[in-house]
Symmetry: C2
Subunit: 529 residues, 2 copies
């Protein structure tokens, strides 16, 4: 596609930009294939605002007389208003934005064009993957193996090429298990708990269907997992009733009779449309400037967002308790195993494992447990809270994860090696990015489009010295202990740093972080001198 | 009174203390005239809990078989459970607590018995008063004078002996004005805004009554206040309707016809019983451990506490805007002028005046604007959120003030020179204290009981080096600017540090404060070496 086809007006002078907390400024607006650029003309107050078109979730246009106004609502919740002289120019700009902000073809997206000046060599893509994880975890080697049965993505399209499975199960058996699990997602290991040798596995639901179909290989695989131990837990992220109902659609659960050593625990977690609508309601509530406290609290409640945070954290807590306190291995799944399943396995690892709490460790965890594990970022993050487009498969699962991590960060301000700024950066990047990390829905798709050869890696970029400094928690102190979050509703808070990030108030919090950081840096310098 | 009369059982062995977040401990319970002391017998985990009986708001006792349980609910929201062997002993202890926790006579209260080892000399009582304030504000001397018309407390029983009034008004006129104002509270100056020479005055409502009575001296006084300027504002902390209704009870407002240069603004602020019941509902909500997010948010909303915080901050903001932005002098009153009036005049001073934001400045402000200005601490803080006693005149106005200050502190973390710990300490001390500062309802009462000769001063104690270090904000940076709080409901938060202070979570925040403080201290040491 030639982007220029869609740009009838590339430049407009005398545009007025209005943004909360900033004085209006007058300047030039340019539109390119991937960006909207506003530059202030005033010499003293020179100001540039660069918006990735992909970041635009929805626009509203109003024309009156010979001029028009475009309100731009971004996926990162920023809202900008542009007053544009000339009706035609206004409509042209609006149309360009509408078309270019929702390009369908991945290879036309900006990450394929972005060339940073100090790029990281192409061969260094990513931080972690199942191979590396397996190599580094020697304790696994006795009973677990790395299988490349999925090297062509033919067994499970949403899995990476290599996965960790019980040694006792060969690749042929895995293929059979894959046929018995939703989306081919046979149970794979995602976490080994060094303290007691217990593991977390995740998968898709078993396809028992109405006829209670069985799969011997699946039963064998799970038996191999808990070999030598008396039992394991299955955490099903659906209610017992939902799991029963899933049988009618060909899905199901691990019945007691066939999986006698496994105890199922059901915890209903909302996903998909419910979660997306919750986000939309919350953002709508945050934007309500009516100054009415009751109305705000009642809208906050009705959005249910904090309930979702609570459920996610308490289910992750349950998972961590099974592993760390009760000393049992756990299999996690819901139906597809690509949303809530990943959410709680990721959170549980942060709760239990100190190595997931450093900046590198956390990014590596997200890479393994979300990106490579097949969370469909492209579908889930196609739109954020403002779009009026009919909901397809959008769902803020990744945002919910980061919100939960923020709750942990707030409850344990010394235990996590990264800052709130990192979490904010990650939400933004998941919805619109210069980097290829969150493109596509699976490793298979990324491989087909050569994402790793043709785009740059966000996680690597975040570890470069300047970024690292910005995203490090200056108060971090390593602790070996698990960090058990309080999930009392009273203990959970709205993530104001994200949901109200374009408000004044959060800027003060940034000042504090800045102040503390400077203090630590100065302190370090003095200690060295 | 002989305290011993009320103590039938002074010591009980083998008592088990249970407290949230602590393992139960077994030890000895002692009761004295003013304290409950629990000491753990175990050598390793030796633990002592000392509770001022005055701090106990309510107790519940349960007797079953030969033993009993007493649940102690403190005014600072701490809840303790004591399992006591021996039914009689349990009942004796309970009865002693019930009697000794609500001593009526002030001179029997603990501040009259407290003798700290490193006491401050008796002559150093207090930090600030109207005399000192007047002396230090030279700009006042031209048009304002210090009047000692109230030196015998005969003109206004709730005012201090000296007050600042317009020079043009003599003491005889003041006496007449006092008769025309509720509680004798004639308008007095409480703040002079150096930037533009405007002032804040406060008073009781004018006693116009149904017959629209006038007082020439009152009108003259107010005219003298704005001499040379075109107009002043009156902020009435009642709705226009409430102010109208007050006339039926002999009260009223400044009518347009008689006070033509003054513009009245009505802002309804809740006080008294409404505020107390709001606190009770909030604390009840905080204690609800049902794990239901919707219920929590709905209870938080129903308590209305955050609405009261919002109203107080926005009314104080309005007051500060009148003075700082519009450049007008303001008179503040409601009906009595001893609750919301003091609340908003105090907050407005913190918003506008950097000298009120240091540790000393803030304590001095509280002393002048709450203690000496006649906030009836004894009546307002007789009970906190747990008591089942019929509400008399209890009302958490001071707590609301500190909550609002906390909101400012959170929104401007670098602008206030004191820490959250100071605010927590002050709430606790207002309800039960070793010090005499918050005793009685007025200067007159404190004078009659020789509080300044027979008890110690809290504010002085808080400025001793060790305390000062604990209560200083390590990130404080002086700023001359006004700190305008955001009063959007989204910007205001539950003061978790107070309302959930006995929960785990707040301990982590203390850790952070501790960490930052250590960093600053170490940094200071290094900078010096």
């Amino acid at each position: 596609m030639e982007f220029s086809e869609h740009i009838k007006t590339a430049n407009v002078e005398d545009v007025v930009l209005q943004q909360p907390l900033h004085p209006p400024s007058r300047g030039t607006l340019c539109i390119t294939g991937h960006h909207l650029l506003f530059s202030d003309r005033e010499e003293e107050s020179s100001r540039q605002v660069l918006v990735l078109l992909r970041n635009i979730d929805a626009i509203e246009k109003r024309v009156s007389g010979s001029s028009g106004t475009i309100i731009i609502k971004c996926k990162d919740l920023c809202v900008l208003q542009l007053d544009i002289p000339g009706m035609e120019q206004c409509l042209n700009i609006a149309q360009s934005i509408e078309t270019l902000s929702c390009l369908d073809r991945v290879v036309e997206m900006y990450p394929f064009f972005y060339r940073p000046s100090n790029a990281i060599p192409w061969d260094q893509w990513g931080l972690s993957n199942p191979e590396k994880h397996y190599m580094e975890t020697e304790e696994l080697h006795e009973r677990w193996r790395l299988s490349t049965v999925n090297r062509e993505y033919s067994v499970c399209p949403s899995y990476p090429p290599a996965v960790i499975v019980p040694k006792a199960i060969n690749d042929d058996a895995l293929k059979k298990v894959a046929k018995f699990r939703q989306g081919g997602r046979f149970p794979v290991l995602c976490y080994y708990h060094r303290k007691n040798g217990m593991v977390i596995l995740r998968s898709g639901q078993p396809l028992m269907g109405a006829n209670r179909k069985r799969c011997m290989e699946d039963e064998l695989l799970l038996r191999a997992v808990i070999e030598g131990s008396d039992k394991g837990y299955i955490i099903d992220t659906r209610s017992a009733q939902q799991a029963q109902q899933a049988r009618m659609m060909g899905g199901g659960f691990e019945s007691k009779s066939c999986y006698s050593s496994w105890k199922r625990l059901h915890r209903q977690m909302e996903r998909g449309k419910t979660l997306q609508e919750s986000l939309i309601r919350l953002v709508e509530a945050c934007a309500d400037m009516s100054h009415n406290m009751d109305r705000w609290l009642s809208k906050l409640e009705n959005s249910k967002w904090l309930s979702h945070v609570q459920t996610a954290l308490s289910t992750a807590g349950l998972l961590a308790e099974c592993v760390e306190r009760d000393g049992h291995s756990v299999l996690v799944h819901g139906s597809d195993g690509i949303d809530s399943t990943l959410l709680i396995s990721t959170l549980a690892q942060i709760i239990m494992d100190p190595s997931c709490r450093t900046l590198e460790g956390f990014l590596g965890l997200l890479e393994r447990e979300f990106v490579q594990a097949g969370h469909p970022f492209q579908r889930r993050c196609a739109h954020s809270a403002f779009s009026h487009a009919r909901l397809q498969q959008e769902s803020p699962v990744f945002l919910l994860l980061l919100d939960c991590v923020w709750q942990l960060w707030r409850q344990f301000p010394l235990a996590l090696g990264f800052s709130e700024a990192l979490l904010l950066r990650l939400v933004t990047e998941a919805y619109a990015s210069n980097y290829g990390t969150f493109l596509c829905n699976s490793d298979m798709e990324r491989c087909a489009l050569e994402v790793k050869n043709k785009t740059h890696c966000l996680f690597r970029a975040l570890l470069k010295p300047r970024e690292r400094q910005q995203y490090t928690n200056p108060l971090y102190e390593h602790t070996k202990l698990a960090i058990w979050p309080s999930v009392h509703p009273q203990s959970l808070q709205l993530w104001r740093g994200f949901f109200l990030r374009w408000n004044q108030q959060t800027r003060h919090l940034e000042e504090v972080q800045e102040e503390i950081k400077n203090m630590v840096i100065e302190w370090g310098k003095m200690a060295l001198s």
